[in-house]
């Protein structure tokens, strides 16, 4: 018995003392190899009498199991230590900078156009487009602005070079001064009922601190039966409330004049002065408040409806127009229109929007 116990003590000590996997393997061979000492004991069991085997057998098997288990756990410990040492050697300063991820931006004008499309889609308006180089007829004549109309002079029109016939409806002659010709093209191409918005580039030969020769407008047009100025007012209120995501939007309609609408109204929206800045919402005729002109609108002139081949006694509706750049400025706080068209990447990164800021009604169309 003591022989086995001694051997066990010896082997377990040797296993525990093995400093590396090689040393451990040498111990294993010494104990369990073909010539190993434990192997020899196991082999010797064949020559034992049944009585002896009954006594020695469990002891020898116990020795084998103890040694095998000890080798396995020592091996695991040695491997873990080796991995730990390896990983420790792989340490890097994790405060070093990672590569800067690429982050592009959406221009505020595009973002606001997407917002408008979303808001008006909910009201059943489609988005219509038209050419930016327009004919005289679509830009003026069909909109009840004949050649001698004083309103033409107020449009600061860019004309294209070349010989032109004034009533030509095909060849472009000017850069559209407003998005209103899209009204004409829509009415010519579609049967009512019509509900569209038409955002896009517009041009006037005007350039100073608050005007650029190119800017963006959105036009709205509804043609149906029984449409009144009451519908116009509701639509504008609903639009502005959804756009600014405020319930306290107050509108003021003022009579005005546009040759293509009758009656016509300019629409002011109330603002409140906050830290010297005009913030849309509330305001109006109260202390710290005021009115800001944001829209031109009116009931589509019967002559315009007739010019598009529709019967003005049957169809009526409203139209409105609004500056998109200005809407963006009022909502997001830019104060220099010229910066919109400069392409300064610092400005674009500051005022632009993430690709993921897709306007949705459920999430609110604005992007904070």
């Amino acid at each position: 018995m003591t022989e086995i116990d001694d051997l066990k003590t010896h082997l377990l000590t040797a296993i525990e003392a093995a400093a590396g996997l090689e040393a451990l393997d040498a111990v294993r061979v010494d104990a369990l190899g073909k010539q190993g000492r434990v192997t020899a004991l196991l082999k010797s069991m064949g020559g034992l009498s049944p009585e002896e085997r009954q006594v020695q057998g469990p002891a020898i098997h116990g020795l084998r199991e103890a040694v095998t288990g000890a080798i396995a756990s020592r091996k695991a410990a040695l491997e873990a230590a080796a991995l730990e040492a390896k990983l420790a050697a792989e340490r890097i300063d994790m405060t070093l900078p990672a590569e800067v991820p690429l982050a592009g931006t959406i221009h505020p004008v595009s973002q606001v156009m997407d917002e408008l499309a979303e808001i008006f889609a909910d009201l059943g308006f489609a988005v219509a487009t038209g050419p930016e180089m327009e004919t005289d007829w679509h830009n003026f004549t069909a909109l009840n602005i004949p050649e001698t109309h004083p309103a033409r002079a107020m449009h600061d029109t860019f004309y294209l070079d070349g010989d032109h016939v004034p009533e030509d409806r095909e060849r472009p002659r000017l850069l559209r001064t407003h998005t209103s010709p899209v009204q004409i093209r829509t009415m010519l191409a579609n049967k009512p009922p019509i509900r569209i918005i038409a955002p896009g580039r517009t041009y006037r030969s005007d350039s100073d601190a608050t005007h650029t020769p190119m800017f963006h407008q959105v036009e709205g047009l509804v043609i149906d039966k029984g449409i009144t100025m009451g519908h116009l007012k509701w639509t504008l209120e609903t639009f502005l409330k959804a756009f600014f995501e405020r319930d306290d939007i107050v509108l003021r309609l003022r009579p005005s004049y546009f040759p293509f609408t009758e009656p016509s109204a300019e629409v002011d929206v109330g603002y409140t002065l906050q830290k010297g800045k005009r913030v849309i919402g509330g305001g109006g005729d109260v202390e710290n408040g005021g009115w800001m002109e944001v829209l031109g609108s009116g009931m589509v002139h019967p002559k315009v409806i007739a010019a598009c081949g529709l019967d003005p006694d049957e169809w009526q509706g409203f139209a409105f127009g609004c500056g998109i750049d200005r809407l963006a400025m009022l909502k997001y706080g830019m104060d220099d229109l010229r910066a919109f068209f400069d392409g300064d990447i610092r400005w674009l990164k500051h005022y632009g929007f993430s690709a993921l800021d897709v306007p949705t009604l459920s999430g609110g169309v604005g992007a904070a």
């Binding site: 001698t148 009144t228 400069d342 690709a355």
Partner: protein, 819 residues
């Protein structure tokens, strides 16, 4: 359109406050652009009398005055040469702010003598340019009284924006009529202007004129009107006629002989000064005054400078006239002029001629009161690029029934201010009264205007605006409302006076259920590529649609050029978006940007069409220097190719089927650019490095990568609903085999890959060149081929057969397997 509050009150009897009037004006569509009371800044200045004036003990040019400003003598030091005992002038007390320079007056010692305020010059009070001395008022001016009040300067000047349809409101009287209709007072009877004006308690000593109602056939002649007193003199009227009834349908005139034309009286000069006009002489001022007061332009000729009678006729081509603004205009045969036997004396309805203008020595005059056709005026004005107060009114259409009244008032004023004897009145032609009436259904106020207004209220509104409303609602607009043309205009009149802001909101009916999608495929495509580009790290810019000719040239030049650009830099409609982006990139480089990735979605303006396009430029460093990757890396043509393919994929283009061709164009690096095509003809994109000559022109270093994506060329995805084709991933694993070929010079990698892929269409799912190198003049390309087994795994013999096919396909291109 500027006028003063007191001027308005010549025509409007009202108890309303200034604020109520201002709010009312805007509310009825006469938008107030500004209001300024010149008296406000003079509130602290009083009328004062110099009691004594003595030499300043320390300064030759100064005097020490004793001044009474109502509260007893004050000591004031004054440097004005005209300061003397007995002078009555304007005095600023300590604490007052001098309008001209913002200086606050205070008690101060001037060269050792205390001074308690200042006697003021006209320039200091911004009342004129005179600074040679202090203001001298009439000796009987009330000492101690507020100067502004006494001088009538306490009269707010109101500036109203008049929309082009409201000619009638280009005269103070029309504005008064609108305010009266809106309930802010009553319209006074028309009187001839005079010194009684501006004083509220004055009673009219002038014969009253009755306004031009809806006239009968010849109602505009004196005889047919009631109450009007034209001052018809003796003898024949001026010799006038019209030979151009289209351009000048009516030419009325009266002469006044023996006038003396001096400065206007103060009441008239003051009014004109208040609205920013410079008084010139009584005769000129009278016409300017009536233009603003009644919206009725007139012209006065010096009869001595005319030879023969005056005729309204078409100009002869090339005829010239020196106009009153000092410029000479060359006329053509579409323009209406007033001429005598020798010369053109007036660009009819726009501006008079210098030659026959009145002067100090004028004695006999002809007063013209004509009607010029609005369209003719507009065309002539546009052609000559000449605008004037007269043109603004005539082209909007003056009241055709007001010729006699206008002439009568003008003649009366000339007689009052300049004396003389009137001649008879001449009337050539007839003004087009354009009488028309409209059937009106008062329900329209609600069914169009959205505001329910009781019919009787509507009748009252229209009547107060001068409309005639019959019992059965046939409505006749007044002669001064040329803009009214149909029921919609009548609705506007009603609701603008009733209050357009009172229109209640009515929800727009909407289709039940969830809103249907409204965006077109083109719009959806644009949105996708825009957000894909931003997601890939590109910043969206918006640049001008017009560029310079030089910028357009390498991109094929512009098909359209502006006739009236604001500058040479913004002149040609862009044939490409790249010049605008390159300009923006160059600006960013100048501002120190290291990496520039800009894109824009907009139109190219080609001869046949405006084409939606996405363009991008990559300039500077693709990657900044980094501890892991080392030095900064520049963009190369393959960065452009990557972006092009990524964006095309986002757009839904079949990118696997695209072929790369050369020929991106002159603007590109000839060896590092290409086009991506779907079939040989449909070009979806150009990409690569831009030509160094192009980038240099924008002050950019060579090596700018760029892409142009032709959005409309991208085939629309055929929609077959939301259902995808059935698909189960293959059960067996794909097999990869690499082949290395020696290829002939000039063989395109794409051609080799395509040939290899086509070698066994059933088994080969992809073939990709993954390595290429040239050594000892030989080029080697390595291709990775992916084979997809179907039901059964490939056996060795099959793999061998496929490999043979691959080698054979490559051999057709001259490539051989590398040993």
């Amino acid at each position: 359109m500027k006028f003063t509050l007191s001027w308005l009150k010549d025509h409007l009897s009202t108890e309303a406050s200034l604020d109520e009037i201002l709010v009312g004006l805007t509310r009825i569509g006469l938008e107030v652009e500004g209001v300024e009371n010149p008296g406000e800044k003079l509130a602290a200045f009083r009328i004062a009398k110099v009691l004594t004036a003595e030499r300043h003990p320390q300064a030759d040019k100064l005097q020490v005055l004793s001044v009474d400003a109502g509260d007893g003598p004050l000591q004031v030091v004054c440097g004005a040469p005209n300061a003397r005992a007995g002078l009555v002038g304007v005095f600023g007390m300590p604490g007052a702010t001098v309008p001209a320079n913002g200086m606050v007056l205070k008690v101060a010692a001037i060269r050792g003598v205390e001074s308690n305020g200042m006697m003021c010059s006209t320039r200091e009070l911004e009342l004129g340019d005179d600074h040679d001395g202090i203001i001298e008022l009439a000796a009987d001016a009330p000492v101690g009284a507020a100067f502004a009040e006494w001088a009538g300067l306490n009269d707010p000047v109101i500036d109203v924006s008049i929309t082009p349809n409201r000619q009638d409101c280009m005269g103070v009287r029309g504005i008064a009529r609108d305010l009266a209709a809106a309930g802010l007072g009553t319209l006074k009877p028309l009187t001839v202007p005079g010194p009684h004006l501006g004083t509220d308690n004055s009673t009219s000593v002038r014969p009253e004129l009755v306004e031009g109602r809806v006239p009968d056939a010849r109602a505009s002649t004196a005889s047919a009107r009631t109450g009007i007193e034209a001052t018809e003199g003796t003898g024949p009227g001026p010799d006038v006629r019209t030979d151009d009834p289209a351009g000048c349908p009516a030419f009325f005139a009266q002469g006044v002989n023996g006038v003396s034309n001096g400065a206007s009286p103060e009441w008239l000069a003051k009014r004109l000064r208040a609205i920013g006009q410079k008084p010139i002489s009584a005769l000129v001022d009278i016409t300017n005054y009536i233009t603003v007061d009644l919206g009725r332009p007139l012209h006065v000729y010096d009869k001595a400078k005319l030879s023969g009678g005056l005729v309204a006729r078409k100009a002869k081509a090339g005829e010239t006239v020196l106009a009153l603004n000092g410029k000479t205009y060359t006329l053509d045969e579409t323009m209406t002029v007033i001429a005598d036997d020798a010369h053109v004396h007036d660009i009819g309805g726009i501006m008079g001629g210098e030659e026959s203008g009145v002067s100090d020595t004028t004695t006999d005059v002809v007063i013209e009161c004509a009607y010029f056709d609005p369209e003719h005026i507009a065309r002539t004005g546009q052609k000559l690029m000449l605008t004037s107060d007269a043109r603004q009114r005539f082209e909007r259409g003056v009241d055709p029934a007001f010729l006699d009244d206008g002439l009568a008032i003008a003649t009366r004023l000339v007689l009052d201010l300049c004396g003389g004897q009137p001649t008879g009145i001449s009337r050539a032609g007839e003004p087009p009264l354009g009488t028309r009436s409209y059937a009106y259904d008062p329900a329209r106020a609600e069914t169009l205007g959205g505001l329910a207004v009781a019919p009787e209220r509507q009748r009252a509104i229209l009547t107060s605006l001068g409309f005639t409303v019959s019992d059965d609602w046939q409505v006749t607009p007044p002669t001064w409302r040329r803009d009214i043309d149909g029921a919609a205009d009548l609705v506007e009149e009603v609701i603008r006076i009733e209050g357009i802001d009172n229109v209640p909101s009515v929800p727009l009916p909407r289709a039940p259920g969830v809103a249907a999608p409204t965006a077109t495929p083109e719009q959806k495509l644009e949105r996708r590529v825009r957000r894909a580009a931003a997601a890939r790290g590109l910043d969206e810019a918006v640049t001008w649609s017009f560029i310079s000719e030089a910028e357009a040239a390498p991109f094929g030049g512009g098909a359209f050029t502006l006739a009236n650009p604001i500058s040479e830099d913004l002149k040609v409609m862009r044939p490409s978006l790249l010049p605008g982006l390159l300009s923006a990139a160059a600006r960013n480089v100048r501002r120190g940007a290291g990496t520039i990735r800009l894109f824009e979605i907009g139109r190219r303006y080609l001869a046949d069409k405006e084409r939606p396009t996405l363009s991008l430029v990559l300039a500077g460093d693709r990657r900044a220097r980094h501890w892991q990757t080392g030095k900064a890396q520049a963009f190369d043509a393959f960065d452009a190719k990557t972006e092009a393919l990524a964006l095309l994929a986002a757009a839904g283009a079949p990118v696997d089927n695209l072929q790369v061709f050369g020929e991106a164009g002159d603007a590109w690096h000839p060896g590092q650019s290409g086009t991506l095509r779907l079939g040989p003809k449909t070009v979806l994109a150009a990409f690569g490095i831009l030509h160094p000559n192009v980038t240099r022109a924008f002050d950019l270093d060579a090596g700018v990568a760029a892409v142009e994506l032709y959005l409309e060329a991208i085939p629309a995805k055929r929609s077959a609903g939301f259902m995808r084709p059935a698909y189960t991933p293959p059960a067996l694993q794909a097999v990869r085999r690499d082949f290395a070929f020696l290829v002939p010079e000039g063989l395109a990698a794409d051609a080799l890959a395509r040939a290899v892929k086509g070698a066994d269409k059933a088994a080969i799912v992809s073939a990709r060149v993954f390595d290429v190198f040239t050594k000892d003049g030989e080029t080697s390309m390595a291709v990775e081929v992916v084979l997809q087994p179907g039901e059964k795994a490939f056996v060795e013999a099959e793999l061998k057969a496929i490999a043979d096919k691959v080698v054979a396909a490559a051999a057709k291109l001259g490539a051989s397997l590398r040993g």
